[in-house]
């Protein structure tokens, strides 16, 4: 039984790889470099999920493709609700609904911030609804694995309100100038995670060079640009392990400092 499941998964993955390869071949304008994540077939409709990297905590861009009998279709509507099942409780996470990808209209894409990894604590899945052009409603669920990463942290206010601070960019820090951007969300309920756009961020990059010495580098403090996004610049003087502390001030309350620790590549 296990062998047949594994074989099925392998064939599905192989099909996804072929699909991605053929997609990339067919559309020379697309610069997307996607990997297959998972797929599920419901009532002859196959929903495939792709991403630029394996899903991880923090910011992810998800790319969806829907096929029927091997042919890509454009549904009337496609909606999702990422869910974490922790056994005794379930909750969602910050996300947006899928829209046609501007960079490649064969995909629908949406943003999601996974606020915890999958694993012993619980597992992630993405329930979805497809309303076809002939008004048929197809529902299903796509389980996904979410790895842990350094790109998400959270902090609580004195009133125990939690804020999720997501490292939006650079996704792959390299020496030189990088756009520095964060996303901030809060939790109103287990299903509602609205963006926080009126906070102030104070950041400070630092490299600990050992022996009790270290230094910062040139940067521009991120400022709110709307929809929970805060944008600035960071100019890494060298490769190696850097930390960037973030101090969030919301409604006049300065929350405890959180620190992102990550590796910067030379090139």
């Amino acid at each position: 039984m296990r062998l047949s499941i594994s074989m099925g998964r392998m064939m599905a993955m192989a099909a996804l790889v072929l699909a991605v390869a053929s997609c990339n071949t067919n559309n020379s304008n697309s610069e997307l470099d996607l990997i297959p994540v998972n797929s599920v077939t419901v009532q002859e409709y196959t929903v495939s999920l792709f991403a630029e990297k394996e899903p991880e905590t923090g910011f992810n861009m998800l790319y969806w493709q829907i096929e029927k009998d091997g042919d890509r279709i454009e549904p009337q509507q496609f909606s999702i609700t990422p869910m974490m099942d922790m056994g005794e409780m379930m909750h969602s996470t910050p996300y947006t609904e899928p829209q046609t990808a501007e960079e490649d209209d064969r995909y629908l894409k949406n943003m999601v911030v996974f606020i915890m990894p999958g694993g012993a604590m619980g597992s992630w899945s993405v329930p979805f609804e497809i309303r076809t052009q002939d008004d048929q409603l197809i529902t299903g669920e796509l389980p996904i694995n979410v790895d842990s990463s350094w790109k998400l942290t959270s902090v609580r206010s004195e009133s125990d309100k939690i804020y999720f601070i997501t490292w939006y960019s650079p996704q792959n820090p390299v020496s030189g100038n990088n756009e520095l951007a964060f996303m901030v969300h809060t939790r109103e309920s287990m299903m509602s995670f609205p963006p926080v756009s009126d906070a102030e961020l104070l950041v400070y990059p630092y490299m600990d060079m050992g022996g009790g010495s270290g230094h910062s580098t040139d940067f521009t403090n991120p400022v709110a640009t709307g929809n929970g996004m805060y944008e600035g610049d960071i100019n890494y003087s060298m490769s190696g392990v850097w930390t960037t502390s973030v101090e969030l001030t919301v409604n006049g309350e300065t929350l405890p400092e959180v620190v992102f620790e990550y590796s910067v590549q030379a090139k």
Binding site: V174, S175, G176, N177, N178, M207, D208, M209, G210, G211, G212, S213, G214, H215, S216, T217, D218, T220, D233, I234, N235, Y236, S237, M238, S239, G240, V241, S263, A266, K267
Partner: protein
Amino acid sequence: MKNLISLVIIILITISNVLGQQQIQIVDEESQSPIPGAHILDSTGEVISITDRDGTFKIEPNHQQIIITAVGYENRSISLDSSVHLIALRPAVFHQTTELLVVGNEDRNDVRSYQNQKPIQSMDRFLENIDGLSMTKRGAFGWEPVIRGQSDQRMNLVIDGMQVFKACVDKMDPITSYVEMNNLSRLKIDKSGAGVAENGTGNSTVNLITQKAGPERLTMDLSSGLRLPDNLRTIQMSGNVADKPGRNSIRFSGSYKKADDFEAGNNQTVENTQYEKFNLNLNYRHTFASNHSVELNYITDKAYDVGYPALLMDATKALADIGQLKFNFAPTSQHFRFKSVMLYANAIRHTMDDYERDVANRTVMRGMYMPMYGTTTTFGTKLAGSATVQSHSFDWFVDGFTSEAYGDMLMQSLDSSIEDMMIYNLDEVRTNNVGIGFRHRFNLSDSVLLKIEENLRYKSLNTLSETHQSFFEGLYDRELSARQRILPSVSGNLLWMIDDRWSTGASVVYSERMGNHMELFGHYIYNYTDGYFYDGNPWLKTERSINTDFNITKESGNQSFSLSLFYKQYFNYIDGILSDDLSNNDFRFKRYANVGDAVLMGGEFRSIHTLSRSFRLENRFSYTYAQNQTLDEPLPLIPPLRGFSTLHFHAGTFRVMTDLEWAARQERIAQISSNEDATNAYAVVNISVEKGWADDSIQTVLQMNNITNEFYHTHTSIGNIYEAGRSMMLSVRVKI
């Protein structure tokens, strides 16, 4: 009838005399342009002819020895025979105002020239003894020359006119280290930078002119020496081989040196002052029947285990390969003439690390190793010639090169949990340069000569690395493209030969300088003089300067002196300014910027007194006053008043030379832009005893330096590293 016969006889005699005369043209050795008004003297000093507009004169064949003098040129004595139709004079007049000819192996003795008295002497020591020059030191090896307080980017340091860029971002590899004394023909030092047509920048210039293959059938020169207590072992060899007509000739030279740590005047060993060095030079010359010639020159220099006590690390490997192909054109009388065309290429690689240092307990970059690597690769061409337009003759020069620089530093923490860090100090930084220059000479009278030079350069600097580029874009919040400049420079020289003993001259130089690749695109470069890390600034404005120079010289048989005074004003002076936002106790940062104005002034004096047939006394003094006018403090690394007095004694092949080398206390120090401290005065005595044997074909030299064991350091010693104490060197030289 009788009168008629007499007239015919007179006419016939006159015609026969005229037909029997020899016609000779006098030309400029560099430009090959004719020299009108040159005086031809016989052996008694009587003027027997003067050259016409075409530089020609006629002379009867009974004059076998003549002396040629011309304003602006060195006198030349020559033995005539029927084959002589062209005589070239070396331009010399303006050397009196702007240039020093430093002679490696020739036996010159005038107030404008220096000669290397000690064949084993290092290039560094040789340069340091020239007034107006000082050396920035970091240990026993690789001293960096400084002219009148200006170094590195503010001076041109070239080998045979070739641009060679240092590969070490910490300036541990000045290119003077690539030419050994046994391969040096001449040093052409233009302190004022007035030779803008050729140097292209108006900067003070040192050109190391290497020995070239000659027509000698077979010569060989071997020397070896041992110095104590640092155990400097040297062995040098050079030779020349030519075929019988002298059309094909090869010159080769090689040297090997190895030294241990030296001891300072307190008898304490100065750690990390050892070095090992190998140098090889090959030169091939072929002369065509048309008198055109082609030269191929190659220098390779390898240094290993070079200690730098003033720095955080030592050079484990410094490699240089320098090649040149040059075509020399035979003189012609055409209106547009080529003198030479040169193509060259060089690659410098520099590797250093601190694996042998105690990195756990130092104050800077503590707890980590920092191996560094740097390289520069340069390709270039130089063309020279002369032209005549509407009876005006001038020299022209074209100079072009492209160079790419790279430098990185890896940081490996002693704490194994800390990931390696890496910095690109320079990444794919490209310098492109092309310039054209002209030199004009105007004889205003028999004794006054005016020289005008101008140069126009296009220079661009860029980095082809996206990450390196993005760093500067982020730092200055500007979009970066190739930085380009048109850089004019112009000079005027006036010389007045007052009489046959006195001459005076003055020059004015205007020049514009674009920052170099380190000033524009250097990143995280540690400056050992002030302890700051520097970042470049691609948007630096052009630094401008005006230099005025005055010189007066008296030359006579027994007493000669030369006094030079200069005043140089800088505008938009490029220097570092603090980056307080990033600095802390461990790391302090600066960025290059145009900081305002600066001024340098001073002078040099040199005299030679021939006291008797055996004794000669030479004195040299130099002083530079340098002030950052914006900060109202002295510029850093400016030597104090200093001097050399040398008493020469010679009797046959026995020679003794006693040097007194001294410097006053330097209290003019930079404390805002740098962290200098005052330096005490010192005086050092050196004695050299030479004896020639077997017709001087074997020479022995006993050289004793700092015989009083003075414990001192120069003001330009980075990190106040003390100089070597008493040392003794014995060397033997054999000439075949």
